[in-house]
Amino acid sequence: MAEDKENNLDLEMEIDRLIHEPARLKIMAFLSVLDSADFTFLVSRLGLTMGNLSAHISKLQEAGYVEVEKGYKDNRPQTTIALSEEGRQAFEIYRDQMQQILQ
């Protein structure tokens, strides 16, 4: 029992802090069930301001977890965000770790 507790605490130390932040966790969670989403969709679903969302996306992009593509659709600028393969793996690892901690 004590050993389990110690192992769970060790897991907590390894948790990906980048994903663990609530707003970024929501971003990763949404993108995990989608192939991609545009910026407007994430703003409407997450309740973040554009600037706030942009800052979080930048952090995830720097870590290589998301891929950002800027373009135009129907003459409107469109930014499409998708999880990278590394991001999907990182999210799956994070999910497994949280499940172990919560058990």
Binding site: L34, A37, D38, M50
Partner: protein
């Protein structure tokens, strides 16, 4: 368990993208109403055009009303598989309807020919309900019941009412109700989500 429940909630939010705007309801309502009106005006040859209505309404509605407000998404594999299963169901339903219709026509006096509208309505109701199951929209189950009752009314009331065709009345009423509900959802959606300005 906690993580799975939250991901289920997120999937529910994703499915909401396909139902919140009411475009699916408007499309369905227009098709059923159009079907009734074409039969009322004795223009059955144009029934095939009804299939274009959902495509036009969906595409135009999404691009001009929905995307500027809530953006666009590309669903993931699990959602795509679910949609594929639905389209297969629709094709099977369509083939089933066609086979039943042909059987009913060729069977002479039989239960199938006597209650062909009810059978037709039941198959349509199944198709509409499976759409509700696909996009997690409970109201589509009620639409299925409404359509079934409208069609079945034609079988059971036709002989007892001589002043109007209960089948046509039922179909036009059902289509109008579904269209009206869809418009309510659409107006609520437009009020809830303003057009979002330029992306950061």
């Amino acid at each position: 368990m906690n993580n799975e429940m939250k991901l289920q909630e997120i999937k529910r939010q994703v499915y909401l993208y396909y139902t919140e705007d009411g475009l699916a309801d408007v499309s369905l309502g227009l098709v059923i109403l159009g079907f009734g009106l074409l039969l009322l005006w004795d223009l059955p040859a144009f029934v095939g055009i009804l299939g274009l209505i959902p495509l036009v309404v969906w595409y135009l509605g999404k691009s001009s009303l929905v995307v500027p407000r809530v953006g666009s998404i590309q669903p993931g594999q699990s959602i795509k598989k679910r949609f594929l299963r639905f389209f297969l169901n629709v094709c099977l339903t369509g083939i089933g309807v066609l086979v039943l219709f042909m059987l009913a026509r060729g069977s002479g006096e039989s239960l199938l020919s006597t209650y062909s509208l009810s059978v037709f309505g039941f198959v349509l109701a199944l198709g509409i309900s499976s759409l509700g199951l696909l996009i997690n929209a409970v109201r589509f189950y009620y639409y299925g019941v409404l359509v079934f009752l409208a069609m079945a009314g034609g079988d059971f009331l036709l002989s007892s009412i001589s002043t109007f065709d209960p089948f046509l009345a039922g179909v036009i009423s059902a289509g109008s109700i579904i269209l009206a509900v869809g418009m309510v959802y659409l107006i609520r959606f437009l009020n809830k989500y303003p057009v979002i300005g330029r992306e950061a």
